[in-house]
């Protein structure tokens, strides 16, 4: 939201010149505000995805249901063109009096975040050694206890990998919000494309890639430290 007095970015500015200028970071159009907007939306999306998918996927896996649906759900959701979904939702949102944000972009991003978390949680619980599960039942754990204290604990690293993939995908896709009446980090790419300002496009792209990279790194660190002793699961191919 540009307010009176904030000058547009000059076209001949250099990429690093703009990035290193403190004025680019401060103010309501600045990078810090845009960053905050992006992070908040992405965080909410991922949290909602976790809160909805982890219980559902764990229960389905624990009770050995829903095997076939898993693969198809993942493929289907990855095939949905996010921009089209969000674009279709915007006029509906406007006409219903809900404004440009947050619903269209929130729903579109949520669709992206649900599958990796669902799939990894499901697979992780499913892969837990049945011997361990039986042993804990034999030791007198209730079903809920088995699920929570045994299966989930062992499945953590794979689940965290799923959350990581979801978070990175959401952060990398969130820029389309700027093309649908919103702002966030995508605004610099949008403004640069509209104003023929290549430096702004490149700088904007770098900011987004940087945030996505930071997100990936942070989650990898969390994964490394959240492992139960001596258990390491391979989580490469299930989702990306």
């Amino acid at each position: 939201m540009t307010l009176l007095g904030q000058a547009p970015v000059p076209r001949d500015i250099g990429v690093f010149e703009w990035l290193l200028d403190p004025n680019s970071w401060t103010g309501p159009d600045g990078i810090l505000v845009s960053l905050a907007n992006t992070v908040i939306l992405c965080a909410v999306v991922v949290v909602v995805a976790i809160v909805t998918m982890v219980p559902l996927a764990s229960w389905l896996a624990h009770t050995r249901r829903g095997e076939v649906s898993v693969s198809w759900t993942v493929t289907l959701s990855r095939a949905i063109p996010t921009f089209a979904v969000a674009g279709l939702l915007v006029p509906i949102s406007l006409r219903s009096g809900w404004g440009f944000e947050p619903w269209p972009i929130f729903i579109a991003l949520l669709l992206l975040a649900l599958p990796p978390i669902f799939l990894n949680t499901y697979t992780a619980i499913q892969q837990v050694d049945p011997g361990v599960v039986d042993a804990s039942r034999a030791m007198g754990y209730s079903e809920t206890s088995v699920l929570v204290r045994v299966e989930l604990a062992l499945a953590t690293s794979v689940m965290l990998a799923g959350v990581r993939v979801a978070a990175v995908t959401v952060v990398a896709t969130e820029p389309i919000r700027a093309f649908l009446g919103g702002d966030g980090l995508g605004r610099y790419v949008r403004d640069g494309l509209g104003q023929n300002n290549d430096a702004l496009v490149i700088a904007g792209a770098m900011l987004i890639a940087g945030l996505a990279g930071l997100t990936a790194l942070s989650f990898r660190l969390i994964e490394r430290f959240a492992l139960p002793d001596g258990v390491r699961r391979l989580a490469t191919t299930t989702t990306r």
Binding site: L4, F100, G181
Partner: protein
């Protein structure tokens, strides 16, 4: 295959059979420009020219680059927009002849010839809802409106910068929103998300939704007649016949025609090529 070639060669016996290179034409990627490209393209095809109407893509920058890089031979642009693109530091004017005096030579420099401009105009429109108390843009100064426009408006002196410049309109907007150019502007205006948008004068939704175009009392908006620009090499191959034909078409298009075309494509949801064919038939031009 050979039969088809022979048939095509014998087929054009209405009007002149022009011999020369293929004219590659590409419209900018919004419905009005697509229709304009179809009108010019089909018109020339009916006259016997070998025209290739390429898939609409890109905007002014890509169109001008296409001419410069010899990927396109014919484009149709809005003269005020050409001015901003080719001579960003030159003073704009609401007088088309002044604008043409600058962009004509600018196009020559990139190997293209600017032909006569049409009376048809699609310029910038400062649009508000029908119930707004304002009737000129100056009236908006103290209303504390929320302003919506596309990204490029915010860095143009003839747009946002001019509206907020104390020496010109000096409007104090309460807030601004960047909205992709197109019907979303109307949706946002109708939904009260914004109070004023910058649209184009021939957007059919303006009339359809009862919006108001405010008068540009300070003369900020530049002249935006449409005009064809042809590759100088291609023009040389065809000679005066081509420029005469194009000028004849340009003279026949009016602003009302642009509005009618847009109403067909954006309100009635018809396709640009059909709209173009119908119009040319109605005008006896194909």
């Amino acid at each position: 295959m050979a039969l088809t070639v022979v048939l095509t060669a014998c087929g054009d016996d209405s009007g002149s059979t022009a011999d020369g290179p293929t004219i590659r034409l590409r419209g900018q990627d919004f419905s009005e420009a697509v229709t304009i490209a179809e009108v010019y393209g089909q018109y020339l095809q009916a006259k016997g020219y070998d025209v290739e109407i390429l898939t609409p893509a890109g905007y002014r920058t890509e169109a001008i680059d296409g001419l410069r890089n010899d990927e396109l031979d014919l484009i149709v642009d809005y003269i005020g927009g050409s001015l901003t693109a080719l001579a960003p530091d030159a003073a704009t004017s609401s007088d088309p002849d002044e604008v043409v005096a600058i962009i004509g030579p600018a196009y020559e420099e990139i190997g293209a010839t600017l032909l006569d401009y049409s009376p048809a105009v699609d310029g910038d429109a400062f649009v508000v809802r029908g119930d707004s108390p304002a009737s000129t843009i100056s009236d908006v100064a103290e209303l504390g409106y929320v302003f919506g426009a596309s990204a490029q408006c915010f860095e143009r002196p003839q747009c946002y910068l001019g509206y907020t410049d104390p020496a010109i309109y000096g409007i104090a907007f309460a807030d601004t929103v960047t909205i992709e150019f197109g019907p979303l502007l109307g949706e946002a205006l109708a939904a009260n998300e914004v109070d004023a948008v910058v649209w184009n004068t021939t957007a059919p939704q303006i009339i359809e939704q009862g919006f108001k175009v405010l008068e540009d009392d300070q003369g900020l908006h530049p002249a935006q007649n449409i005009a064809p620009i042809i590759s100088s090499n291609v023009l040389a191959e065809y000679g005066d016949q081509l420029s005469d034909d194009l000028n004849e078409l340009s003279a026949a298009i009016s602003t009302d025609d642009l509005l009618a075309w847009n109403t067909e494509t954006d309100i009635a949801k018809r396709e640009s090529d059909d709209v173009a064919t119908e119009w040319l038939e109605a005008e006896g031009l194909n």
